[in-house]
């Protein structure tokens, strides 16, 4: 940004730029040939036609001053202009107020309208920038103006030579162009700054510049160059740009003076004023131009309010406040001068007309400097902060170096202490491992106990009826033999023709009847059938047991999972079967794999018994409890559907587990059973055994739905070995 010297230079340049404005305006007065005489009456109904106005001559009142001000109202004003009589042919009547919405001119001869012309902002015509009218040919005729405007009806009539009128227009163009050039320069320069610094204040500032510039254009009627084609904007343009100007000025003040930080109490006032301007926009939109204009005027209260706000901020230490105060003061002075001019306190010269634009340009420039100053301050404070940070980091580095040496010494000490502790922990771990081995042994014995009970029950039943049937059969055989012998003796006696043979036959028959021969024969058959059945069952159970191999056996054998599952369920037998329905579904011809068969049987029994227990906890009736065991071969589809793994699913419809339990079931010593009922090692041993086999165990479970254990045995390594051996 500019150093202070640069700022002074810029002011000087600015002053030089302003000179032509003054120069251009200076010669304005000489143009007016003579002061005209004005008389006016108000037509509140706005219905009066030009044919009727001659009847209203009585209500005409004379208007004094060079710039009569009739204020703003919704009425139409009829003004009779005289004093032009005797003016030269090239004289024109000029009504130099481009903000008037509509101007109708009538040349009247009594009730007759001889000629008429129209002008005004609402038409949006560029040639109406300085409304100029020809004077009537006949001095006996009357010249009437009808003026309607939502803006103040300010009537600076003058009589000017036609070529002078054009000169006024040219000078006005030049002045506005100069002003526009300055505004654009400020706008572009600050837009560049806004985008390069990214500061929010800059963005609101460029809005202030833009809208203030537009308002100045509007005052001079130049806004019709922008939106003359839009009738609504032709009427409301000044109001709308005024409202936006107020809005942006307030937003800028809020950012620039950091209202939230220094004067939070004023925020409410700013919000109210923002509301007034927004309401003005709303009123313009709903077609109430008068109300909109008055609301914008009410919003002008923000000008003194912001001035006071800047003083308050200044006193509270805001560094930007003095700049703002000066800039705003200049603006306010310019506005006040303009108002004084409008009300005729100051002479209405072209010079006084330049006060407002010059004031606004100065305000913009000062604010621009202030913004630059602020950015400089921010930069300075950030530089200081950087320097401080650098110093602090250098200091830190030194401290860190010192501490590092100390730390190294401490680390050495701690390392030695840790090594000692580690030794102790290793010893403790050894002890724990010993204890764990013992517990695992206990768990093994427990499952051995389960097995023993199952096997005992399973075997004792068939043995019972084999033995009992044999005894009964023995007895039946004796009776049968007795009958046979009696018959045989009787037959022999009959053959020999011995006396009493008929009696013997009769006795033998009696005996057979007495002992119920038919029944004896049937019973014997049944007894033999029972013996055969029992023997067969016993053989099957013992066969199943053989599959297990030794419970402790670590040696690998080639076994079929189907056989192992069947044997496990047989051995669990009634123990499980009487407590729940056990459904099996084994895929035919699944390949065998190398495994520790006894250990795997322990795994299957453990899971099945858990499943049965889970169903028992949920269902009171054994029929409702269901455990299903499924064996399938899985293929990844690579080797022409050759199975790559075997999957066992052991599913129950028991109580199920919540997620916490499910995640912990394989932890050693974790048990949901009562103290003393389980060691909590069952599933952790299961996991260990499956890990040894390279198998994966997964658990799916939902409370009150059931649990499914999914065991997957890979076939790749052991499978190929098995097939080679086979």
């Amino acid at each position: 940004m500019c150093p202070p010297y640069g700022r002074v230079r810029m002011l000087r340049v600015l002053f030089c730029l302003m000179l032509p404005l003054w120069a251009g305006c200076g010669g304005g007065e000489s143009v007016t040939v003579d002061a005209l005489r004005l008389e006016a009456f108000e037509d509140a109904t706005r219905m009066l036609r030009p044919e009727q106005v001659h009847l209203q001559r009585a209500s005409l009142k004379g208007l004094d001053g060079e710039r009569p001000n009739l204020g703003s109202s919704s009425s139409a004003w009829w003004i009779r202009v005289s004093g032009w009589q005797g003016a030269p042919r090239n004289a024109r009547i000029v009504l130099d107020n481009p903000t008037l919405d509509s101007i109708d001119v009538f040349v009247l001869d009594g009730p007759r309208v001889l000629a008429n012309a129209t002008s005004g902002a609402a038409l949006g015509r560029e040639k109406d920038l300085i409304p100029t009218f020809e004077i009537p040919l006949n001095t006996a005729h009357e010249l009437w103006f009808r003026v309607r405007s939502t803006k103040p009806v300010l009537l600076p009539f003058s009589l000017t030579r036609v070529d002078k009128a054009e000169v006024i227009r040219e000078r006005r163009d030049l002045a506005v162009a100069l002003y526009t050039g300055m505004v654009l320069a400020i706008l572009i320069y600050n837009s560049f700054l806004a985008f390069s610094t990214g500061q929010r204040t800059y963005f609101s500032y460029i809005f202030v510049v833009l809208t203030v510039g537009l308002v100045q254009w509007g005052f001079n009627g130049y806004d019709r160059l922008l939106w003359g084609d839009v009738p609504w904007m032709a009427v409301n343009g000044l109001t709308v740009t005024g409202a936006f100007s107020g809005l942006s000025a307030l937003m800028f003040a809020r950012h620039f003076l950091e209202v939230r930080r220094y004067t939070p109490g004023w925020n409410r006032l700013i919000q109210i004023l923002l509301g007034v301007y927004t309401a003005a926009l709303g009123a313009a939109l709903i077609g109430r131009p008068m109300l909109a204009y008055n609301l914008v005027n009410l919003g002008a209260l923000s000008a003194p309010a912001m001035l006071i706000l800047s003083i308050v901020s200044w006193r509270r230490g805001s560094p930007s406040a003095p700049w703002y105060f000066v800039a705003w003061l200049i603006f306010l002075v310019a506005v006040t001068m303009q108002a004084l001019r409008d009300f005729g306190v100051l002479p209405s010269t072209q010079m006084t007309a330049t006060f407002l634009p010059i004031g606004t340009v100065l305000e913009m420039l000062l604010l621009s400097f202030a913004l630059g100053n602020r950015i400089n301050q921010l930069k300075r404070s950030s530089d200081e902060a950087n320097a401080k940070a650098l110093a602090a980091s250098l200091e830190n580095e030194r401290i860190v170096k010192e501490q590092n040496a100390e730390l190294e010494a401490r680390v050495r000490q701690r390392t030695e202490a840790l090594a000692a502790a580690n030794g102790e922990l290793s010893a403790a771990l050894e002890d724990l491992k010993g204890a764990q081995d013992q517990l695992i042994q206990t768990e093994k014995l427990a499952s051995l106990g389960q097995m023993t009970a199952g096997i005992a029950h399973e075997l004792n039943n068939p043995i019972n009826y084999v033995q009992s049937n044999a005894t009964s059969l023995n007895r039946d055989m004796e009776e049968l033999i007795e009958i046979i012998e009696a018959h045989a003796a009787a037959l022999a006696a009959l053959a020999e023709g011995a006396p009493g043979a008929a009696d013997m036959v009769e006795r033998a028959r009696d005996r057979a009847r007495q002992l119920d021969l038919q029944f004896l024969m049937e019973e014997s058959r049944q007894l033999i059938k029972g013996i055969l059945e029992g023997a067969d069952r016993t053989a099957r159970i013992v066969g199943g047991l053989r599959v297990f191999g030794r419970m402790d056996g670590d040696e690998l054998v080639e076994a079929s999972l189907q056989d192992l599952l069947e044997a496990s369920i047989t051995v669990l037998g009634n123990r499980a079967r009487s407590r729940a329905r056990i459904e099996v579904n084994f895929e035919e011809g699944t390949p065998a794999l190398w495994c520790q068969s006894g250990k795997l049987s322990q795994v299957f029994m453990n899971i099945v018994v858990n499943a049965v227990q889970a169903t028992e906890s949920r269902w009171p009736e054994a029929e409702d409890r269901l455990v299903s065991v499924q064996l399938t071969a899985l293929s990844d589809g690579a080797n022409a559907g050759e199975p790559t793994s075997l999957e066992i699913r052991i599913r129950d419809n028991g109580t199920g587990m919540d997620d916490t339990t499910r995640q912990r079931i394989f932890d050693p010593f974790y048990t949901t059973k009562d103290v003393g009922k389980g060691t909590g090692l069952g599933l952790s041993i299961v996991k260990g055994i499956l890990d040894d086999h390279g198998a994966v165990i997964r658990v799916e479970s939902a409370l009150d739905k059931g649990t499914c254990f999914i065991l997957t045995f890979p076939l790749h390594a052991s499978g190929s070995k098995a097939s080679k051996v086979a």
Binding site: A453, A456, H457, E458, L459, N460, N461, P462, I463, N464, Y465, V466, Q467, S468, N469, T471, S472, L473, R475, D476, E523, Q526, L527, G530, E533, G534, N574, R575, R577, S578, E621, A622, E623
Partner: protein, 193 residues
């Protein structure tokens, strides 16, 4: 009670066991067998049984539970539990809950089981008898009570002849009580033997 035939009911879920049992004991006892607990309950309601045997491990209900179930309606029946393998829990339950008379393990010894059934029958008889005796004792006591009431009524007259009458009645009553005492002493001594 009229005849000496011992009626036995055997409940087991395995049919070969039922057949073996019937074949082994049909000569001595009237054997009924059954493989469903609810059928067994119906049989018990329909016939008078002296002894009931049940397997411990059955799919729907354990033997002990079955005994618990029938106890309120048939308290006098002798209950014998038969099982292939007995863990401690089952034994404790059998005694505490099922009030089992005997515990027999499979495979059974036929002679031993026969003896157990017979002694069960004896127990049942003596239970039934003592129940009947108890009823009799109560009846006798009731009669004595009424007699005393009557004598008290007679005495309330205060006439000398009625005193003589009551005295002789009391002597009769004493004889009667001694007679009853002797009878019950014999009965109890037989029970305790």
């Amino acid at each position: 009670m009229a005849d000496d035939i011992i009626r036995v009911l055997y409940l087991d879920d395995e049919e070969p066991n039922l057949f073996s049992f019937k074949a082994a004991f049909r000569r001595e006892f009237e054997v009924h067998t059954c493989d469903e607990p609810h059928k067994a309950v119906r049989l018990l309601d329909e016939h008078e049984f002296h002894v009931v045997l049940s397997d411990q491990r059955m799919p729907r209900i354990s033997g002990v539970e079955f005994f618990e179930l029938i106890m309120p309606d048939h308290p006098d029946i002798s209950r014998i539990l038969v099982t292939g393998y007995a863990d401690t829990d089952a034994v404790v339950d059998a005694i505490n809950k099922g009030q089992v008379y005997r515990f027999v393990s499979k495979p059974w010894n036929e002679e031993e089981l026969r003896g157990v059934i017979r002694s069960g029958y004896e127990l049942n008889r003596s239970r039934v008898r003592s129940a009947a005796q108890g009823t009799e004792v109560l009846a006798t006591l009731d009669a004595l009570g009424k007699e005393i009431d009557r004598m008290a009524g007679v005495l309330s007259d205060g006439a000398p002849e009625s005193v003589a009458q009551v005295t002789s009645d009391l002597r009769n009553m004493k004889l009667k009580i001694e007679e009853e005492h002797l009878r019950y002493a014999r009965f109890f001594s037989r029970l305790s033997r």
